[in-house]
């Protein structure tokens, strides 16, 4: 095709009005045959690593070889993350909704024969309820999904994120059309404000109020104004934003365009961390496809409104999730925060009024516009409306992403959806809010998970990471972990953060070796207050939270370290010893082979022993033992 022709064709594809969009949507729906089988293969980061591309490839081949009738040849659809990452690779067979877990390429012949040809479920690939041990056939009946309320994640796992038509068929960009042709920009802002939506990235600032302040600033300072997506999801243990960007990039894009329309912005930025290559790829494809259809760029849907956006990749700095550091990074400099005595809605990117919201926040906006603020405000808790996506990780049976109405009790998330701790014991603590958050003990299991209740308990919502810990996890170790993390990620500009986090970590290192006294704990608390008060930005200001909450709820465990020189969880190396239970040891020699110190001795089929003097307490013996014969005290 000649260049001119190609351009002419691209021109043809542009939708010139809301009616064009609706016509395209109707056409796409008609083209779909609801009875045609479709095999969905999850291609989220988790399933990809566990081999989902090989599964999809094998399925294609097996179907071709099976000689199925043309009418039943299913389409194979690669989708974004289904959220149930601990069970991947996941395969769902539609229209029935059969749910297969941990599928390998070697399983596909059986799936084709049993399910596609004979119409039966492959029993051994079904999910089994960990309590009742019963096999569950359908996706929607699995407790992990059944108790969710999917608003932000509604398209994820259902659409192919690299095909805009899939999203349009499911109602994508309808909210944009509604706003452009039936609402004034002020009405869009008002709708978002009435919905009660609060920022999903950290402190939970009301989104509508932020937009309103931006409008006021624009009145004073004029335009340009910028809209920015904070996709620098840095909290360890949080991956909901990655999943949204990978699995439903158009929701983020549509939200951003709506914000741009509301504020009169013509340029936007998507700041995405470099560790998320698939998210960057899917967003880039989404932008290209939206531009080709006239949903982004000049004269969107023929409305006269123009807006475009570019992707900025992060370069490996946690602090760039902080608004002023993020702006500095987009401007091309080292991401050091600036004091925020003037808010970024007034002076943000290049000193201009700027609205920065997190990925999940933007992705909520289209549905608020489409379904109305009342619908949204009816979800969740009074002061924390809507739903929230959480990533459940750590010592929990069902690792993955869940979306629930705000305000449900902590234990419901961990136990009902997460299936509790492996082995059935109660959880010891749940860390929420990442390095800025805190550790909630089991005794607070009934705490409603909303912005205000978590803050009251000394933690915070943060981006929604939930790290479940059991009795084998040590709180002193967790405090040291977060301090080390923040020490490495501190930009180093202000003294309380640069030096203070390091010194807090050194004090906790001392505790983990059994050094220190109760007076040192008091000093640590005093230093923590100085860091909270004195730090330049929220990274430093909230850095003491993991220490302070573990001290608040688990002081006994700290005292066990410094007073009794014991680590009850068996984690802190200076205070533990490994030994082998003679009754359980079968003499298989796996530990002796794995030991890097070669300090485990014993004859084949006879109990082994560890030479404590030479042991470096690396724990490899324990990991390699299949008989739980290695103990730690």
């Amino acid at each position: 095709m000649s260049k001119a022709k190609a351009e002419a064709k691209a021109q043809d594809a542009r939708l010139a009005s809301a009616a064009d969009l609706e016509a395209l949507r109707q056409r796409l729906i008609q083209d779909q045959d609801p009875d045609r089988p479709e095999i969905i293969v999850c291609h989220g980061t988790g399933c990809l690593a566990n081999g989902s591309p090989e599964v999809a490839e094998a399925l294609k081949k097996a179907i071709k070889a099976s000689g199925l009738d043309a009418k039943v040849v299913p389409g194979i659809k690669a989708t974004g993350c289904h959220g149930f990452c601990s069970r991947g690779p996941l395969v769902v067979v539609r229209p029935q909704g059969l749910f297969y877990q941990r599928v390998q390429a070697s399983d596909v012949d059986e799936i084709v024969q049993t399910t596609l040809v004979e119409g039966q479920a492959v029993e051994r690939l079904l999910y089994k309820d960990p309590v009742s041990k019963e096999a569950i056939t359908l996706e929607q009946d699995i407790p992990f999904y059944k108790h969710q309320k999917r608003v932000v994640l509604r398209n994820i796992g259902k659409v192919d994120p690299t095909d805009i038509n899939d999203t349009i068929a499911r109602g994508g960009y309808l909210a944009l059309a509604k706003a452009l042709f039936a609402m004034t920009p002020e009405q869009v802002v008002a709708e978002v404000e009435k919905s009660g939506l609060r920022g999903r990235g950290g402190a939970g600032f009301p989104t509508g109020r932020k937009w309103k302040s931006a409008l006021a600033a624009i009145k004073k300072k004029g335009r340009p104004v910028y809209v920015v997506v904070n996709g620098d999801e840095g909290d360890p243990g949080a991956f909901m934003d990655r999943t949204i960007m990978e699995g439903d990039p158009h929701a983020v894009l549509e939200g951003l365009i709506l914000g741009a329309y509301a504020l009169g912005a013509h340029q936007g930025f998507l700041y995405v961390r470099a560790e998320y290559p698939v998210a960057i790829k899917h967003l880039t494809i989404a932008m290209e496809q939206a531009r080709a259809l006239g949903l982004l760029g000049e004269n969107i849907l023929g409305s006269g409104f123009s807006f475009d956006v570019q992707v900025n990749r992060g370069a490996g700095a946690f602090v760039c999730g902080e608004s002023t550091a993020l702006f500095t990074s987009i401007e091309g400099r080292a991401g050091e925060p600036k004091p925020k005595y003037v808010r970024s809605v007034e002076e943000g990117l290049w000193g201009r009024p700027t609205v920065l919201n997190n990925v999940e926040t933007w992705a909520n906006v289209p549905q608020i516009i489409e379904n109305g603020s009342e619908w949204f405000a009816g979800l969740g808790a009074p002061n924390s409306t809507g739903t929230k996506v959480f990533s459940l990780v750590g010592k929990v049976n069902n690792v993955g992403l869940v979306e629930v109405p705000m305000g449900i009790p902590l234990k419901e998330i961990v136990e009902t959806l997460g299936g509790g701790v492996p082995g059935g014991e109660p959880f010891k603590a749940v860390q929420t809010g990442g390095p800025s958050g805190g550790c909630l003990p089991y005794s607070l299991k009934d705490t409603p998970v909303d912005f205000d209740s978590l803050t009251k308990a000394g933690s915070m919502m943060g981006s929604g990471g939930m790290i479940v810990m059991d009795r084998r996890d040590c709180v002193v170790d967790i405090a040291r972990y977060f301090l080390r993390f923040l020490e490495e990620e501190s930009c180093g500009k202000c003294i309380p953060c640069r030096l203070g986090i390091q010194r807090m970590r050194e004090m906790c290192d001392g505790f983990s070796r059994g050094e220190g006294s109760e007076a040192d704990i008091a000093e640590l608390k005093s230093l923590a207050r100085a860091i909270q008060d004195g730090s330049l930005c929220a990274l430093g200001g909230s850095s003491p939270n993991p220490v302070l909450t573990t001290l608040q709820y688990f002081e006994d465990e700290y005292l066990a370290h410094i007073r009794d020189h014991k680590c009850p969880a068996g984690v802190c190396k200076a205070l533990i010893t490994y030994s082998i239970d003679r009754d359980k040891c079968t003499g298989c020699m796996a530990c002796a082979r794995a030991c890097p110190q070669k300090c485990i001795s014993g004859q084949k089929k006879k109990p082994h022993a560890i030479d404590a003097a030479r042991c470096i307490r690396c724990g490899i013996c324990m990991e390699s033992c299949k008989f739980q014969a290695v103990q730690v005290q």
């Binding site: 988790g46 360890p236 370069a315």
Partner: protein, 154 residues
């Protein structure tokens, strides 16, 4: 190994000569050459009008940039919270012992670079490491044998 036939000028000309494209340029150069040479950094400064001292500040601030050549194989161990709880520190120590380098280091024969990263957002795979951009889920010391063995044969 990255192909050596990538043209530095081509990367540089791809972006307008403005300071806000500094990070874009450094990222592309890092991706193409595995590090940013002094010559490349100077060319980027000439193109964007950023003083060398500031470009140097930026390239030492962000973790993705390296001013020294990296090893042929890059091993990144995730130190996210879930990975920490499931034994990532043990993995790092074991890799340090086997490769004889600390995180951030490259072996003398330029074969391996060992890095740690703060959460890849792949917590269901914990502990996870990425070897030459391929995710290795649920890594144990035993699995390490296999992965390193495969690299050795390359």
């Amino acid at each position: 190994m990255k192909p050596a036939n990538i043209d530095l000028d081509e990367i540089i000309e791809h972006y307008p000569g403005r300071p806000d494209y500094l990070i874009f340029l450094l990222q592309d150069i890092q991706a193409a050459f595995n590090y940013i040479s002094p010559e490349a950094l100077q060319l980027v400064c000439d193109h964007t009008g950023v003083p060398l001292s500031q470009a140097y500040a930026v390239s030492t601030f962000y973790q993705s940039f390296s001013l020294e050549p990296k090893g042929e194989h890059e091993i990144k161990v995730c130190l996210g919270t879930a990975c920490h709880l499931k034994g990532a520190p043990r993995l790092v120590e074991e890799l340090e012992r086997r490769l004889g380098v600390s995180p951030g280091g490259t072996t003398d024969d330029l074969k391996y670079s060992l890095e740690t990263v703060n959460c890849l957002g792949a917590c269901a795979l914990a502990p996870v490491m990425v070897v030459d951009e391929k995710y290795q889920p649920s890594v144990t010391t035993k699995k390490l044998d296999k992965v390193l063995g495969e690299l050795q044969q390359d």
